[in-house]
Amino acid sequence: MSDASVSPRSFRGGLGKLASWDGIIILLTVVVIVAASLGVPNFGTSRNFTFLILDLMPIVLVALPMTLIIVTGEIDLSVASILGLASSLMGWFWNNGLSIETIIPLVIVIGAVLGAINGFLVNALGLPSLAVTIGTLALYRGLAFVVLGDGAVADFPFDYTGWVTGTIGGGSVPNVLIPIVALAIVFGIVLHATPFGRSLYAIGANDQAAHFAGIRVARTKFWLYVASGAVAALVGILWTLRYSSARADNGSGLELAVVAAVLLGGVSIFGGKGNLPGVLAGVVLLAALQNALRLQDVSGQALNIVTGTLLVLSVLLPNIVSSIRTSRQRRKLRQAATS
């Protein structure tokens, strides 16, 4: 409908499609990176690139399952607390003499179980995911403090901490880019190239229709929460190794950055819309902006103003654009009716 025709009206429509939300975000990301490289000292250095990737690692990894969950119209606010509890458990297991090769898979399994608890409450009992995950946000973070108190465990083996902070072949590409790329590909394929992924959009658009179309709605969403828990626990491990410090408050507040990045990437909070490339751009935009501002000596707490504003704008702006479009369409229809 929008292509091939040369009439000015459809041309405008085509432009409108080109200027879709994730197109804008990808463009904005490029603009921010170029502007920061030119304007902010030290932003464009290879050393800063390494830090940038390390800084966005937790956000991007947690954002992958979060995207799938938000596409189905649900949410998981407990991810940062699962991260913290995973970190605490890692420290506690290490203090109790378990080997790191045992701890890592064990903690990921525990993360999956924590996610399964969310999934059970939301899908088997039919409780609202927002309220449930606010509850488990408090519960899991509380348990993290119960496990480790306010102390820290820091003597993890250098083989592992060094790998997380290290770069591939000693260059400027950090090792953690390997799990990031691997998981992004896995989640990308699941969401965009499998029937399972298509079913997530169907659930998000209308879960009753999806149910009548033969999709097992509750079971599908349950596994998303399990994946979310497992990935959050993996990030807890990477976080702990990166800072060589297992603490109960690790990653607290990360859920804001993750939800902001996902919504910024064009995923609709109401479900049924969005794609992974947009989310990746959203993560990079958020991380590049924070990184550039931090290099300009803006404090971490003030950065939250930027993150919070982006979060609100990412939903507000598309709403404003769409309401302008509908009012314009209405006016056009009215004109057509009167003439």
């Binding site: 949410i75 409450l121 009992l125 039919g126 409780l127 609202p128 927002l130 309220a131 449930v132 606010i134 509850g135 488990t136 946000l137 408090a138 519960l139 899991y140 973070r141 509380g142 348990l143 403090f145 119960v146 108190g149 306010d150 109960a248 507040g253 804001l256 939800v259 902001a260 919504l263 909070i269 109401f270 404090s299 707490q301 003030a302 950065l303 939250n304 103003i305 930027v306 993150t307 919070g308 504003t309 979060l311 609100v312 939903v315 507000l316 709403n319 404003i320 309401s323």
Partner: protein
Amino acid sequence: MTAVATHSPARKVFSGLVKIRELGIIVALAALIIYTTTSQPRFLSAQSIRDILLNTAILAVMAAGQAVVVITRNIDLSVGSVLGISAFTVASMMSDNPGLPMIVALLVGLAVGALAGLLNGVLVRYGRVPALVVTLGTMYIFRGLIYSWAGGDQVNADELPGHFLQFANDSILGIPWLVLIALVVVGGVSLMMRNYRVGRELYAMGSSPGAAELAGIKVARNMLAAFIISGALAGLAGVLFASRFGTIDASAGNGYELNVVAAVVVGGVAVSGGSGTVWGAGLGALLLTVIGSALTVLDINQFWQQAIVGALIVLAICADRIVAVRIARSLRKRDSHV
């Protein structure tokens, strides 16, 4: 006639269950107090009761506002940050102008909070952004603003005028001011929600936003009012916080939103909107505070507190669900007889 017949038994079942809901909190409170007192009699000393009531007051004031918002099927996660902004604004104002009377401090706190609530309400209603997203965003924006304003500074008790600090300890007819304010707020908002038109309209909006709009309820005005009430009461809580603790830095009230939401949900206000009472939320605030004190008195690791809060939220949501399922079943049973 038939309309009355179909409605009244359902309503009876419903109100019966709601009564049980708030009765449950009272029973839990009584059991907790009895258990704690038998193992540590000093739990019921005058000083301890006074501390519990003073600590409940601030939480209960915020819970009353949050209950109004949750009843309309929204949520306000920014209340902790609004408390912080209000506390810091009022504390700096009072330390610069020690001569100002207490009532000015209270009004400024209310105004700061109302302004923050108005912003939330406008974004939710006119921006059509879900309350979760708006208030998660403004929670960090407001907190960031306090940090960029205050930085590492803090207002200490010795910079604040004596009458401002005295307010938290003074009492009238043996009831501390803080507790009196909390009682008036919880009682007043309960009354508004129960007996006045705007309150019933807020319940209607929470039960079915679309139907409320079609029924001619001024949804926009009411929703703004709900967020302004929640903001203003968080602002008021900020003044009480500053007066009670004396030392205020940029982190004042950080994380309070969890306790407030917990108090409301535990107090029987359903997150799906349209049911629950404000005084139930006040009872929820009391229960949470008593749990905190009981942990201290029983010498249990303080770190359990947050985990218990989380577990209580989840339990309360499960309880709501069971009640809702039971109501649905009893309604269906009734319909089958018709």
